[in-house]
Amino acid sequence: MTYAYYPGCSAKGSSADYEKSTQAVCDVLGLTLVEMSDWNCCGSTPAHAVDTELSAALCARNLDIAARQGAKMLLTPCPSCLSNLKHAANRLEKPEFRARVDALLDNPAAGNFPAVTSVMQGIAAHCDVNGIAKHIRKNLKGLKLAAYYGCLMSRPAKLMDFGDPENPSLMENLLTACGAEMLNFPLKTVCCGASYGIPERAVTARLSGRILKLAACMQADAVAVACPLCQMNLDLRQPQAAKAVDAFFNMPVLYFTQIMGLAFGLSPTALGLEKLRVSADSLLRKLEAEGGRS
């Protein structure tokens, strides 16, 4: 299957490893991701807070390009991009809003936008448990993982379509299919502090600290994430977070695609594991020691 792919700007910088592992895992599973040409930033966190029309215009341009390139389905790894694209598509259904957005664009958006979905939902829709199982080269048996979705992935519930917004389970389903033991992680949709890491560092440190502390208490081997910003807060800011909650952490924070890639037998380099600040070595060692072959 071929899908249009919208990487979003963090995929080209801070979360290049997410991008790399996403492409690698989709290759294995037979999802061909074709990156849209000439895409622009979705507006990310700031735009929609300042000007919904500008934010929608940025997304409308992307959706328009994808539509003109004949895409029926657009996949994006980043929850923030997903949220912005979906919100824009939803708002643009109102003619008067669309007219105001069109005024901001050189070329009015053509309409008939492709459906937008996350890479996680795309993989789950493409292959079931058996579809994943047949690619497993290194069973993740013995690995205890905390799936962490962040606050954005499943909300607003209707738009994002992740099932129960308080208790989504898609990531658990995918990683369980890879053989990992998924913890019942109660903070899976609680905010990590998001972009407060810049203006109010203490807030982010406290919120991320709470998440990491519980994962550590529950003896998770790693936290599995699906959001570049969450990953950065939990991984890069781990010393700050540890200080805020008076603890010490050495908790690898991996993208779910990196973990799936490990199960598929891909090399750590192919999955960009060297980009993690908290090394995944402990995880790899445990996998070598315990992980059986499928």
Partner: protein, 653 residues
């Protein structure tokens, strides 16, 4: 005919938007009206005396009162005209309050509509004929469904008043929810100690027949003459022989039966007596968990029973009883709190319901009255109570207040401090609702003397902190900031819902119930224990949330109603029943099939099939009248002629 018309002002209720004097004046122009006036309060004593005087002075043989709802005052005015010597059915009422003054502000239009309603009532009255009630013998025995504290109180009061009582209970013992409580608010006296003696009284009272482990299967008949079928479930123990010694449950090897009496906080044996003060104190085998009954191998209880009371092949039984009236006192169940997934939805062992906590506090409970966490048996230090779980929450379909949770939470917090002096309790609340006698004082005491910390706000999530305790995330809406409390045990003040099967029972009793399954009283304020079905009364929480004092008061109130009813030797039926014109009836039987009360039956008159009405059963609903293709069935006091006269009066202006 000579008719008098009275247009009531009802203070400003009607006169505010209706020109009553004008309506009276218009009324004098209607046929047969010889007298019309507009008193201030027709229902008050001067008003009623004036009606009586007018009947005498103007030799009236019919009266129309235009005022409020007939549901409230029609019986009043019927008695008034009766006192003056008229037949009570030579009276008609026009509702010009609910149907006119309360719903419109246009004075002219209202006045006009009021006059038209009077005209209709007059047209009907001119076609009225005197009706006479038939009297019949009443079976002076009462059936009480539900053996909780309300049912027990009603049973004792009726029995003391000389009325034989049949007390029916679904569980194997009476006592209901109150028997499960450790202490009661606001006096903190032992629940079992105040209820126990009453339960013993029930067992020993010569006027009370007790059926436990039994359910109501079927009811037929009418006030004074109900026939009830009682389904006695098999207990697999011959209660005539069982002495309640308890040897059977000591020896029973199947020790993993969920203990319903202890709210599933513990396990019990497959053959058991629910609690030491059970009435009757007889053993019951849980068929689901008994090895003999499920696998055919065991039989230990039968071998050890000193009186040979165990009967493995016991069958359910149905007994029939005749009673004159019925009291429903079926109580409540806890709302299914597992829908609150954010509180742990049944997945965390130390997040428990208030009733489970009550069992932990109770000496006869699974921990012998020591507060211990279900997960590891440790004593909790921090106890968090969350109120309004399933109360006042539209999102789970429970918008009503459950009434007593504020109080029992305060009581449990106080008891927690008594049991564990070093503990700290927190209560997340929305408002404190403590309106009863000494109630507010009690909640204050919890705060001021027992140091319970009350936090106003809702809890958003409860989750394990990974170190064996729980984090309760909430908001303090008085301080306007989020709070997180560490808890060793979380107690949810779970709200109530109607007892399981309440709606089905209501259908059997032919009484109304609300959206939530609570039984409807006849009048919210003035007939709180009656129902719209004659001879069926309500007591306790089956009618709506209430605490023990209110349930007991209502139990006594129903008993008073029963005793008043049975103080008469003969009861009268309402003569507004269906009548069959046998000359017109073709015996098609449609009316028999449509009657919800079973009041019509087939009969043979001179070889032809016809329908006959059992007048005492007929409730005068009129379904048969509108069903009959021949127009052969007529409702006395609402005949086709009367209804057509009303329509004609309105349309032929």
């Amino acid at each position: 005919m000579r008719i008098g018309v009275f247009i009531c002002h009802c203070g400003s209720n009607i006169a505010g938007t209706v020109d009553c004097a004008r309506v009276a004046e218009i009324s004098t122009g209607f046929p047969d009206v010889v007298y019309a006036t507009d008193p201030m309060y027709t229902c008050a004593e001067p008003g009623q005396v004036a009606i009586e005087a007018a009947i005498h002075d103007h030799r009236l043989d019919g009266v129309v009162v235009a005022s409020c709802s007939p549901r409230i005052h029609e019986p009043t005015f019927r008695h008034t005209v009766e006192r003056a010597g008229l037949n009570r059915y030579m009276f008609e009422m026009a509702n010009i309050r609910e149907h006119v003054s309360w719903i419109g502000k246009d004075r002219d239009a209202n006045t006009n509509k009021a006059a038209e309603l009077v005209k209709m009532a007059l047209a009907k009255l001119r076609n009225n004929r005197p009706l006479v009630a038939k009297s019949f013998e009443a079976n002076k025995k009462v059936l009480i469904v539900g053996g909780g504290v309300a049912g027990i109180q009603a049973a004792l009061d009726c029995a003391d008043g000389g009325v034989p009582v049949i007390l029916l209970e679904r569980e194997s013992t009476i006592g209901g929810k109150m028997a499960k409580l450790d202490k009661t608010f606001p006096t903190v006296d032992c629940s079992a100690c105040i209820l126990g003696p009453k339960m013993v009284d029930v067992a020993q009272h010569p006027n009370i027949t007790l059926y436990t482990y039994s359910e109501l299967e079927d009811i037929s008949g009418y006030i004074g003459n109900f026939t009830v079928k009682i389904h006695k479930r098999a207990t697999y123990v011959n209660w005539e022989k069982c002495t309640g010694c308890g040897v059977c449950s000591e020896k029973c090897p199947s020790k993993k039966t969920p203990d319903a009496f202890n709210e599933l906080t513990g396990v019990t044996t497959a053959i058991n007596i629910p609690f030491p003060q059970a009435i009757p104190k007889k053993a019951v085998i849980s068929a689901e968990h008994c090895r003999q009954l499920t696998k055919g191998k065991c039989g230990i209880c039968a071998k050890t029973c000193p009186t040979g009371a165990v009967v493995y092949d016991m069958q359910d039984d149905v007994v029939t009883e005749e009673v004159g009236c019925i009291i429903a006192a079926t109580g409540y169940d806890l709302m299914d709190w597992t829908v609150y997934r954010e509180y742990g939805g049944g997945q965390y062992p130390d997040v428990i319901t208030s009733l489970q906590y009550e069992r932990l506090l109770s000496t006869s409970g699974p921990t012998g009255g020591h507060i211990r966490r279900p997960s590891d048996g440790l004593e909790p230090k921090h106890v968090v109570f969350i109120q309004c779980v399933g109360s006042r929450d539209k999102s789970v379909g429970r918008p009503y207040c459950s009434g007593f949770c504020c109080m029992y939470t305060a009581k449990q917090a106080v008891l927690t401090k008594d049991h564990l002096p070093l503990s700290q309790s927190y209560v997340f609340y929305m408002d404190i609702r403590a309106p009863g006698k000494l109630y507010d004082e009690f909640t204050r005491r919890a705060v001021e003397e027992y140091g319970v910390e009350y936090i106003r706000g809702r809890v958003s999530a409860v989750y394990p902190d990974g170190e064996g305790a729980y984090v309760v995330m909430g908001v303090d809406t008085l301080l306007g900031r989020p709070v997180e409390i560490k808890a060793d045990i979380v107690v949810l003040a779970v709200g109530i819902e109607a007892s399981r099967g309440a709606a089905a029972l209501a259908e059997k009793l032919r009484i109304s119930y609300d959206n939530y399954g609570f039984f409807m009283e006849s009048h919210v304020k003035l007939k709180p224990v009656e129902t719209n079905t004659a001879g069926v009364f309500l007591a306790g929480v089956c009618q709506g949330a209430k605490d023990i004092p209110a349930s007991v008061a209502q139990g006594s109130a129903t008993a008073a109603k029963v005793l008043a009813l049975f103080a008469r030797d003969r009861l009268e039926n309402d003569p507004q029943t269906a009548q069959v014109d046998t000359r017109r009836c073709v015996g098609c039987g449609k009316c028999i099939r449509c009657c919800p009360f079973g009041a019509l039956k087939e009969t043979t008159i001179r070889g032809e099939i016809k329908t006959d009405v059992i007048e005492t059963v007929c409730q005068g609903c009129g379904l048969c009248t509108s069903t009959c293709p021949q127009g052969a069935v007529q409702l006395s006091h609402a005949t086709d002629n009367q209804i057509l006269a009303e329509v004609n009066a309105l349309c032929r202006c």
